[in-house]
Amino acid sequence: MEYTNIGAWDIRITLDLFFGGIGVGAFLLSVLLSFYIRESHQSTIKIGAYTAPIAVGFGLLLLVSKLGVPSKFITTLWNVNLQSVMSIGVFLQTGFMILTIWYAILIRKKFPINNQFRLLQTIGTFFAFSTGLYHGLFLSSLGRVLWTELTPGMFIASSIAGGIAFVLLLETLINLSVKNEDENVETKETTLPLGLYRFQVMIFIILLVQLVSVVLWQFYTGRLELEQSLSYVYFMNQFGSIWTYFVLIGGIIIPMIITLISIIKHEEKMAPMPTMITCFLILIGSFLMKHLLITGGQIALPVGFTF
């Protein structure tokens, strides 16, 4: 049996969804911290706020460069198809981009606490979740066998984890370079439940959600109709090792173990080295999960399945 890959989308689509996801995660982290524990996490809030528009914008640029007619991208704003997830997603992602820029400017200028700022945070959070969901829904709407209804869950969990990991990695590197490690130790002002003010708890919970969604996807895709099952088997033949070692073990399970150890030790804050290792692994895992799914989803079944 001969499988082929349509190859309509290359790595630029992966990078769009990866950086878009980082933007979503970074923004949500920044909003969460500024809502509850702003005084002790000012640098994290700022890094998250600045990362979001840059990451989303960079991803969007890569997406536009992949279009056959990049100059026509703007026409998606008035040639709308409400049946198309991509058409709706253009508005969500553009709206999210504008809100993140506005948010970053406010954070940079005056860091205000007023109703207008809270409203921006609330609307921004809605757009962030919508954009994160859109990335996965966009794939599942195309109806290809590996892009199932579970894809949105996998993508949004991966995006949030990736965004948090990116911000923490950047912050740790900055702190190491300026030797200012003590800024975020103070956590007494927290009102966040479940110990969420500690990043290791936050990361552990999100990775747990990601693990569940990935395992469910593997479990159900491999057990659906013949077409799905065969595609899944082919996918695992092609990418099984990378998927298992870098996405599942490296990208989810090892970071979960590292954060769990830190939680059990009741550490207020993870040490720089474990933080960097955890964040790096999460980012690699997030990128590879999206890339393998996008590449694998374009596999065309052997000719007998087109009858």
Partner: protein, 229 residues
Amino acid sequence: MANYGMVINLNNCVGCAGCDIACKTENNLDHDVHWSFHVTETTGVFPNVGYKYIPKLCNHCENASCVKVCPTQAMHKDENGLTLHDADLCIGCRSCELACPYDCITYNEDVQHQLKMDTEPLLNGITSSGKEIAEKFDDVPFPNYNPDRAKTYDGVRRKGIVEKCTLCDHRIVDGKNPWCVESCPADARIFGDFDDPNSEVSKLVAENTSFQLLKSKGTKPKVYYIDEF
């Protein structure tokens, strides 16, 4: 208003691929673009073997997935039930190509018919260039260019967008059959209106055992196949 579609009688089809060639000439298709094509499959173990030859084209689905996913409505349904593509609206995102379960949408990575429009001769001083030959044919883009195609779609499709079968809508508007139907030497392809119960296609589907490709996808394809050989 009509609901156009096609019946392909596999009892009559001899697998000559004449429809594929006819489509290419009528619609000015480049060498690697196929709006009408076929797939073959050999099954079984000797002596119990089987051979399938399935002519394929856009199924002009009632519930077309390409129309659903297109972000700009470039892929759309017309009043006659045809699934058509508006080149002016297409941004080249290729979502339709991925959504089509029949692999009937082609993306133009490059300018089409480059060889035929080349200004350099294949052999200097011996052959003419493609452009020189084309200029001898009333200044058409290339020698076998069909200007009728440009009535309803780009005569030669542009770089960076997709293209697909239109069921020869430029011929249908003049009351003619699609060219693949006209060209079939075995009368295996029948074109008509499924909303008209007295049309030949409606009668053929009603009177024979027929099947559609990938019916389980829910796209409601409007190309019916009668029997197999």
